[in-house]
Amino acid sequence: MNSLTAEDEFNRHLANAESSVAVASRCWDALDQSRREECYGFLAMAVEELRASRSSVCRKSVSQIRTHVERLSRLQADASRLLRLVDASMSFCRGMIQRIGAAETDRGASGPTLTTEG
């Protein structure tokens, strides 16, 4: 039985990472917690697969450099696209939280300031 070469291992882990990022992108939904958790699960898998790819590379040199670089660049581009969506959501929340913070200061510590009919 033939054992897997470092090249085979690298390719296998990279393919798994690519597929995980692709599925994570499809799962992403800024407003749906369960979809987000599903998305993060796939992203965590992609991280593990990339760490495994790194181990394969460190054990033995991997050839076909150009193909690998292209694949890694595409993977990073996919991750960056998803990161833009996540960043946009974060930016929205950050601004809203600041705005609410500003509103809170107008409301007093015990809740909204009550107005009475004059």
């Binding site: 990472a17 990022v21 992403w28 800024a30 407003l31 917690q33 987000r36 998305c39 993060y40 992203l43 965590a44 992609a46 991280v47 990339l50 760490r51 790819s53 790194r54 590379v57 460190c58 040199s61 991997v62 450099i65 690998h68 670089v69 890694l72 660049s73 993977l75 990073q76 581009a77 991750a79 960056s80 696209r81 998803l82 990161l83 833009r84 969506l85 996540v86 960043d87 946009a88 959501s89 974060m90 930016s91 929205f92 929340c93 950050r94 601004g95 809203m96 939280i97 705005r99 609410i100 509103a103 809170e104 409301r107 107005t115 009475t116 009919e117």
Partner: protein
């Protein structure tokens, strides 16, 4: 008896108030699909109750409260601005990309191959009329196609300038609508949901066209500034933008294709301030992408650089040699050299040249030396900016393709970002501040977790690339 009457009076008044509240709900349902409409809710106020003091209690309506959150609206507009920019970049760069044939089976790459092949065949029979004629016809075809490409790029630039003019017109029309809305708002004592819906719809349409800042005033009006600070609407006054084209008198290339410019109401050039919206995408394609090829007041343009180098290199070799009969070599190509930006648009075969005028003999007296030198240009890696002529042209075509591809990718992602931001706006609008704060903190923590994972993926990608390189 008076207590009973007071109670009936209170109940009657409360019914009126609740009827008004129902009308508001009905209005919300009717306007669910109205652009810019935000759900309204009646502000109900408990009236003081003290019978001995003549205060009979009950409920009163204190106007309407809008579910609109101005921060969320601003976020949507900011993302719509970027989408507008990418949309016009996609349209413009796709038009440019289509003018280049990257396969090499036709157009300029094929013409170049054909010309170099004709030089090679001519080197075998330097005095052969057929080989000489093939050189002339190949050179003529290449000149025609370079001129055609330059003309097509010029036409595309003209189309974009027309779009810039109509976009500026739309911006001024929307600014006029907002100015009218301000006039109307000053006449109203309370917020009119219809007026507010129209205003926000206009603001969103305007943000698709240009990057704007909206400053709400205490009197309910809004001031609109371009992000660079130029005013569009201040209170009840509108400041119109203008578009023009031209080459500055101080330009290095006075005959260059014109640049597109945007002016404020005072006539100041504010082109550099336009950084978002469709207008910025159009300006980018016109003043950066196309200008980098056909030139402008301050740059030659890569296509002109290609045409000039092609002509000068081939002419230089031919003019350094002689014909079989000993006559001095003549230029194969002609072009307008009065301005570097006119080279591609005027490149042509020297019409006074005949086959027998082609100087095949080099300066050392080799009968086909010049023809061989010209054929060798096909593989010369140092013809222009460290590249072959074919390689340099491929770079121009590749630049057009990359710009188009990058714009398309940005547009697709931005469409998702806009949809997501609208959904976040709708989710958070009309929710109490306390509920919002809790939900937003949870969201933010969750988003941070996702961002960390994605950043780790990109770092691992970098690390892997450095390991395998």
């Amino acid at each position: 008896m008076s207590n009973l009457l007071a109670s009936l009076q209170t109940a009657g008044h409360a019914l009126d108030v609740y009827q008004q509240a129902l009308d508001v709900v009905q209005n919300n349902i009717t306007n669910a699909g109205t652009p810019g409409f935000a759900t309204q809710s009646p502000k109900l106020l408990a009236l003081p109750f003290n019978l001995s003091g003549g205060l009979i209690g009950g409920v009163a309506e204190k106007g309407l409260e809008s579910a609109r959150d101005e921060y969320a609206e601003e976020e949507v507009r900011r993302q719509v601005e970027s989408l507008g920019r990418y949309e016009t970049q996609v349209q413009g760069t796709s038009s440019v990309e289509q003018l280049f044939n990257v396969s090499g089976t036709s157009g300029i790459p094929a013409d170049l191959d054909q010309l170099f092949q004709s030089f090679s065949a001519w080197s075998v029979t330097p005095n052969g009329p057929v080989a000489q004629q093939t050189v002339l016809s190949s050179a003529g075809q290449l000149g025609d196609d370079v001129r055609q490409l330059s003309a097509s790029l010029t036409t595309t630039a003209q189309d974009i300038r027309t779009q810039i003019g109509s976009t500026v017109e739309q911006i001024n029309q929307l600014a006029a609508t907002i100015q009218q809305s301000n006039v109307q708002r000053l006449k109203e004592t309370s917020l009119d949901p219809g007026l507010d819906a129209n205003l926000h719809s206009s603001l969103e349409q305007l943000s698709e066209l240009a990057d704007i800042s909206v400053v709400s005033q205490a009197d309910g009006t809004v001031n609109i500034l371009l992000s660079g600070g130029s005013p569009l609407v201040v209170g009840t006054t509108q400041y119109s933008l203008g578009a023009s084209v031209g080459v500055l008198s101080t330009a290095v290339n006075p005959q260059a294709p014109p640049s597109a410019m945007i002016h404020d109401s005072q006539g100041n050039d504010i082109t550099a301030q336009i950084q978002g919206g469709k207008l910025s995408g159009l300006l980018d394609v016109h003043n950066r992408v196309i200008a980098s090829m056909i030139g402008d007041g301050n740059q030659t343009g890569s296509l002109n650089q290609f045409a000039k180098t092609l002509a000068d290199t081939i002419n230089g070799i031919l003019q350094s040699g002689t014909t079989a009969s000993g006559a001095a070599g003549t230029a194969l190509f002609v072009y307008n050299s009065s301005d570097p930006t006119t080279a591609a648009g005027s490149l042509a075969l020297n019409s006074s040249l005949t086959g027998s005028d082609l100087a095949a003999v080099d300066a050392q007296g080799n009968s086909n030396g010049n023809a061989l030198n010209l054929a060798a240009l096909a593989d010369s890696q140092d013809s222009i900016n460290g590249l072959s002529l074919g390689g340099f042209f491929a770079g121009i075509a590749s630049f057009a393709g990359q710009e188009s591809s990058s714009a398309q990718s940005n547009q697709q992602t931005q469409q998702q970002v806009v949809a997501q931001t609208r959904a976040l706006r709708d989710q958070t609008s009309g929710v109490s501040l306390d509920a919002q704060a809790v939900a937003l903190l949870q969201y933010q923590r969750s988003y941070q977790a996702g961002a960390r994972l994605l950043t780790t993926i990109n770092s691992l990608g970098d690390e892997l690339m450095s390991l395998i390189k």
